[in-house]
Amino acid sequence: MSLPDVQGKRDTVKEQVTEEMLKELIHVYICETDSMSLLDIPSTFVSVDADDAETITEKNNQYAEVCRNRMGNDKYVDRSMQTLNGAAKNKHVQTDSMAMVDTATTVTTWDMYDTLRGPDFSYFSSASAASSLKEEVFGSSVNAESDLQLIMLSENFQQCLLVMERNILRNTFQPKLAAYRQLPVLEAMMQVNKHHLGSPVKPGTMEQRQEDTEKSRSQALERLWAFSCELSRGCSVSSMAWNKRNPDLLAVGYGEFDSSTQRAGLVCCWSLKNPTWPERVFHCDSAVTSLDFSANNPSQLAVGMHDGSIAIYNVHSQDNKSPVISSSECPNKHLGPVWQLRWTQQELSITGDEKVEALFSVSADGRISKWFVFNNGLDCIDLMKLKRIHNAKKKAGGNNTEKKSESVLSALTPGLCFDFHPTDSSLYLVGTWEGFIHKCSCSNSQQFLETFRKHFCPVNCIAWCPLSPDVFLSCSSDWTIQLWKQDRLNPVLGFTSTQMAVYDIKWSPKWATVFGAINEGQLEIWDLNSSILDPVAVQPAAPGVKMKSLLFATQTDCVLVGDSDGQVTVYQLKNFSVGESSQTLGPKRSPNNA
């Protein structure tokens, strides 16, 4: 048989194809072969004009004559012939059956996309390959353990947990969060859930709710929820600040500094989406007295502490537990508690793109300092020293370091609070322990521009009105709140409602005539449009708990109050007037003697 031969021929012909051979130029010549005749059937028709036409016609005639004469002729005899048929033989052949298999596949869009992206994007394959290996080695019982370990350690799982927790909480807190964001509360769904056995929604209850809201058209405070967790329980809230870029992030500083015991301080960053557990927790060495988020770098949080040091934390990543920079090694650091910190954007930088931001602090050692990063730590320059003013005489510039004979204390008085002017950032006000409010400028570090005297107890907080120019409020431990205009040395109005020291005061960001104040026992909301003698809404504190800190929400009309039990409660202002945002306080109001 020829088959084995052909195979042998195939083997020998194989030759290694090298790179050079592939690159060689090969010339191919194409030419015609000789004609090979495969079939030749001559025709039986001859043309009349052909050369041998006559002989052919004659032959044809002769044959025709022979055929005619054949019948009775002796020259021609009929004969028969027989062909031989060969014997037939049957042969069987058997082949292997062809197995037919049906295959189908559905290709989805994402399947094609994943294949294009590469082998690292398959859904289940990577984890299952790893786990199948382990199964071979260990056995099924240990498999579950190692799987769990693998899963728990992966970052994706943590993200998953975070999302899941927020979802669960949103279910629980939906009415409160919706009220915060001023969305309609899903009351109908709640009703359906309660009657899940099948009875229809009772229309009576819905109507009753509507009636209630119509009755209470007066201005009121409604408690929404409180941020609290075990970590913060028992620690007193000292300050709160919103993040400048993400209005849902709140930083709260905790620290006990009224009592004699010095406890370590705590900073928690809460997100509105999770009121039961803070997103970030930072433990500080000493009690936290003030906080502020930076506007240029929104993940930087500056924290001022009771021992005078200032630390800057980065809240972006979850791993960073220690401050990015701290002023504890700085030789110029504050010697007393840092009562207030503020990041302020100063004059435009040289390139003109971004405003240069600097950190300012006021502290109990009487200095107002401007901090900058130097040599991996913070360093400061003093903007102002708060000199003690003993009498009402205008002090002459130059006797700063004169020590009075009556007191052995330094000539500097502790500063408790400060605030920068909303439009002119080189102008600021400082409130001191003596009860004076000094107006100062960043460019003049020797003299105060003006001094406002009215309080006779420490000034606890000062706030410029964000909507009305040149108007500011101050509150003090002498139970009063004073409203001032920048060019008048006497207050325009004074407010007292209870006989308790007022700790914190803030203007509402939406309405020009509304501000909030807290003293130890209650939260008061004043609306100067309605009444200048009494607050329009009062919320008493829970028994045994003192309110310590106040903050208005920027986007919605809610107020946050921090208290001495470590809770930050969110209240919503209901039925306050809208549309008065551009009203300014006229100078026609007669000054009250409060």
Binding site: T108, T109, W110, M112, Y113, D114, Y123, F124, S126, A127, S128, S131, A144, D147, L148, I151, M152, L153, S154, N156, F157, Q158, Q159, C160, L161, L162, V163, M164, E165, N167, I168, L169, N171, T172, Q174, M190, N193, K194, H196, T276, W277
Partner: protein, 96 residues
């Protein structure tokens, strides 16, 4: 690792949460606070549904991906979060 454990415990302690199940790539529940038969049933049924949901989302836009699938039923709410190779299932009754 301890933080993750703590977060899981916190989730389980939230108001209304009936149970949580962590399912591995093969559909076996590896950590749960429900009884085993219920956990296996949930794991098996929800796995297919989640894969179908994920396929739907990615068919429309392959660059998109499923983060959470929430099924709100008459009695409670089932939340499934799929990730690479595992599923996290939480069952919550939101208004008890």
């Amino acid at each position: 690792m301890a933080e993750v454990e703590e977060t899981l415990k916190r989730i389980e302690a939230h108001k209304g949460v009936i149970g949580t199940i962590v399912v591995n790539a093969e559909g076996i529940p590896i950590r749960t606070n429900l009884d085993n038969s219920t956990a296996v049933q949930y794991a098996g049924l929800l796995r297919h549904l989640t894969m179908l949901a994920r396929s739907t989302v990615r068919d429309i836009d392959p660059q998109n991906d499923l983060i959470v699938l929430r099924i709100r039923t008459k009695k409670y709410e089932i939340m499934v979060a799929p990730e690479n190779g595992f599923l996290l299932i939480v069952i919550q009754n939101p208004c008890e």
